[in-house]
Symmetry: D2
Subunit: 337 residues, 4 copies
């Protein structure tokens, strides 16, 4: 950490800051330039918890230099982590392809979806049984019954199951039915939920909050990892900006940034970012080209009758066409599907 | 709802949309201009759940006309609601003044804080016992022990207690110690938590999420109200924008917008918006001038030693000075403290 | 346009709105639902200039249905426009590859840059002679002398020249030296400059403003086209958001959105979006995969000595490697370089 | 400036950075902590122009410590500057009240507006003769004829004139008719225009760009001041965010931030921020309470017939009521109107 002193600070101000650092076993490196005095803190700044240097006399601001996450950092596993979900490895050469409807509605819908997803070539089936909805009057999900339909459809076609849990109470309920928990964008900083999934060993797909920085996202992953569960896969799904042409703004740059800063795999959800089916394919191809480790895409046997997010769900045929394009572009990037 | 058809839509496309509307008992008003055909939906559009007109042939987009919240709307209580918290009325002529430290740390700290808050003239004491923190390695709160210290200090000075609950499991634990639950910005769309506090009768202070629109915020209030608890007070605390000079950007305009659209009282938290003590007073006065029903402000007996958010906490003296200015400006606006 | 009336509007309010519409030769289609009354305006709403229905009694809001640009719209040229720059066609099968240093510094620098750009396979050389800089004390460009160096280098290697003009006074000065004008992000709504380049016949590369919506961008193109110059190529270069890990947030979704709404070609500038050399290649490949018609990339013979934007400029070797990857990915997408 | 080295940097890397600093006459202060090596640059970092340390081996990033503006900084005039506009002083005890229609339309309109503005108590008349409009097909202003009408109306009522110039060519045309130039939000980084008004001595009202940080805004002021014209008044008018309930998001916090960092006066434009007449008064009062030095407000004798921005213009009666409230709130804040 760097402490920048005010222009008009006194020698005494500087002395007091150094004294506080020393009282916590930290060294200080004072740099008095022509324009500013800057104090470099030597040692582990976590020792400073309970000291608030920013409110001391003469202090202008404190500038953090190091990231606050450790286990999620690239330095921890320079070659990158892989996450094994029931035999399917995420983060390796093979792209992780997840697809399925926004919400689990009926067994028939799920069987058709699973058949289409499998035929296209994907290994993971998705479907929401507990739906976070902006309005309390909108469809809220089929709950445990939905989980059963999801599992049955996946098993019929040999697919792995990814499903969102919106509350820690759902962990024991959903665990028997799924291979991977999904934490949604609205829950990225639901720290209780993060800690609780961290106490399981089940892989976690952690979506980025729509107003969260990459740093906050990696800290959220750190919450899970710090409890002992390192099977975390990140999922970029768009951030909130002033542009209204799309539902969210897909932050495609987050892929190389995460690659540089973190050891965790990252996949992309173009469906929620776009909010419109016709934009999904170009965004999906862009994500793969930018280096994503996979894609999670909404597809429905009959989008017109979907109970939620209809506008952004692909037909099964459109998904199959998209998959085919991914199959052709992957080798150019050293990947496969 | 208005359905805008594509320029090149056919008569058949229009006919099919009307047929779907009719099948749900809805009327249609077709308006064919020189540039576009538009279909007005007559009736309650909630009947359309399960139909996704946007993916029908020839449909360009659907434009909602009505808000999706009802109980939180202005129309429901045109003169505005008041919320009674143990005898203190929020939303009337008297401004609701809440103050106290970011986190409950020690009994001594809380007694000093309560003494200062009371002396300044406030009626509510705040303090966090469960702290949502970006990093898992930061101080996480004193939990139930903190709630006890908070209540004891408040009782010693005749203050009401407001405290944040970060999870529905904490409702029965925190209820005996507080007069009002606070739902933090990160939990504004934690729908399970919203529903659960809605099943209590205790007043709720609902902070705006940092990336949430006013519409989403009012829908979050609707979640609480739809469960039977109408004692909701909104709290603007800044939204996330590109500007980094302040921690968040206080959306001062949300006050007149909420006043126009909703029947609920609205107070302002200038401390979290500013992130810096020296900006708190001007923002607090601005909030009162814009018509806010109160202020929640962080103040600490010794900010330099605060375990969290030190930079934005006022000293008790600074809080007393701020309060004095509010006391003088309030009458000009037809309010009192 | 749709006029949404207030819930409590009177018959008289509706009558007055209709009267205003009629007085301008416009029809009205009234749709009185159970929840709201909505008036559809029939005819060309531009006739309403000078009438402000939103301030009339009983009017809640006016919702525009049509875009305000015409020549830039997709409907105008459904198959899409191409722009011919001295024989090089932008918007066809061949990707438009533009590269070169941020700023023109010396003749030697430009000769080396041109040699590298040509060797990689690009057809266009870029270089700024007039630099818009945030601080008045930063390097401001080599001006007309720079234009000469740029042209000389391009001619030596048979490259087309693209260069930014920051003011309409520079049009006659820069015209003899370049094949295509560039309008920078900060000038996207410099309407005088847009009109003046519209009065020339020279192709224009129009960058998106960092806080401008796609709608505003297409309206800016319309300014140029409405003066008679339809040789406009759009350039996405990132928008301003809360994320600070990159200089701007590349709005990759703008590619399919522009493709759907506009007839104009669109290329991408990953260098300014990223602000960091190591992120440029993944963003460039993503842009091509999303359907961009080309790339403009900053490359410098010696980035460490660059007078501006050093961190984001590629070495010539790195550019050649990037180009090679584009060459391999293009055919999968039905393109070539 | 602080140079943060990569974790795995070598001694040689550090040595090379120091050598570059020395070659420019700068000192280096190396701070090697347990987690990172940091180099403090001693001396004037502007000597480093042409060196790009960020691309050197082993360098992680460079963190600027000092602001790049000097004349606009608070340190330059700690007590704050005042700007004299024909005898009216902006930045002193008296609030600067500017009002008038968005656009100058007719002489009759301007005479009525001037009469109303004067009667309310304001000293400045505003009105746009050159209008920057998003669409080329919208009303573009009455130009020089409009300037004449504006001046005539102002003179009839003893008011000062503020008007926007959208291009440097307009400086000699507009100068005889106005007392203060206004630079609009879209031109905040039109550096040619900034320099040219800097070469006049006429006061300049510099609006903040809707996507510009406060730092960039102060640098834009520095452009004007560095040419010799220190008569700059800043004007906050809202920034672009995800919230669509208002036209822009008024950044009320910019007032205390500018007060702390800059010596320049700052006024607020609540009309453009709100985009809706009913929100203007609460925002205006908030601005005064937060410490603004004045207000610029749109008012029109007949908003319904205004040629631009009708929804946000107050009637003259509404303006008079607003003024009356400002008159009552000002003394509480140590100001007067």
């Amino acid at each position: 950490m760097i402490i920048v002193m005010k222009r008009n600070c006194t020698r005494e101000d500087v002395g007091k800051v150094i004294a506080v650092l020393k009282s916590h076993g930290l060294g200080a490196n004072v740099s008095s330039g022509s324009q500013a005095t800057v104090i470099g803190v030597l040692g582990d700044k976590s020792k400073l918890e309970g000291e608030n240097l920013e409110v001391m006399s003469g202090v202008e601001k404190c500038v953090p230099i190091m990231h606050s996450y450790k286990m999620a950092s690239r330095e921890m596993v320079p070659e990158g982590r892989t996450v094994n979900v029931g035999g399917e490895v995420i983060g390796g050469k093979k792209l992780c392809m997840i697809a399925g409807p926004c919400a689990v509605e009926t067994q028939d819908q799920m069987m058709k979806a699973a058949a289409g997803v499998k035929a296209a070539g994907a290994a993971f089936l998705r479907g929401g049984a507990y739906k976070p909805r902006t309005s309390p009057y909108a469809f809220q999900g089929t709950e445990e019954n939905g989980l059963k339909m999801l599992r049955k459809a996946a098993d019929a076609y040999g697919l792995k199951v990814v499903t969102e849990i919106t509350d820690h109470d759902l962990i024991p309920i959903a665990a028997p039915y799924c291979d991977m928990f999904q934490i949604g964008a609205r829950n990225m900083q639901n720290f209780r939920l993060l800690r609780e999934v961290g106490r399981t060993k089940k892989p976690v797909l952690l979506k980025r909050g729509m107003a969260n920085t990459i740093e906050e996202w990696l800290n959220a992953a750190e919450y899970i990892m710090s409890e002992g569960n390192c099977n975390v896969v990140l999922c970029e799904r768009g951030i909130r900006t002033f542009e209204t042409a799309t539902r969210s703004t897909l932050d495609i740059s987050s892929i190389p940034v995460v690659r540089e800063r973190s050891c965790l795999p990252i996949i992309v959800d173009p469906s929620h970012a776009a909010g419109k089916a016709s934009y999904v394919e170009p965004l999906a191809l862009a994500a793969v080209a930018a280096g994503a480790d996979g894609l999670i895409i909404e597809t429905h046997p009959n989008p017109q009758k979907a109970l939620s997010d209809a506008a952004q769900q692909l037909t099964l045929d459109a998904y199959a066409r998209l998959f085919e394009k991914v199959r052709r572009i992957a080798p150019v990037l050293g990947r496969e599907v």
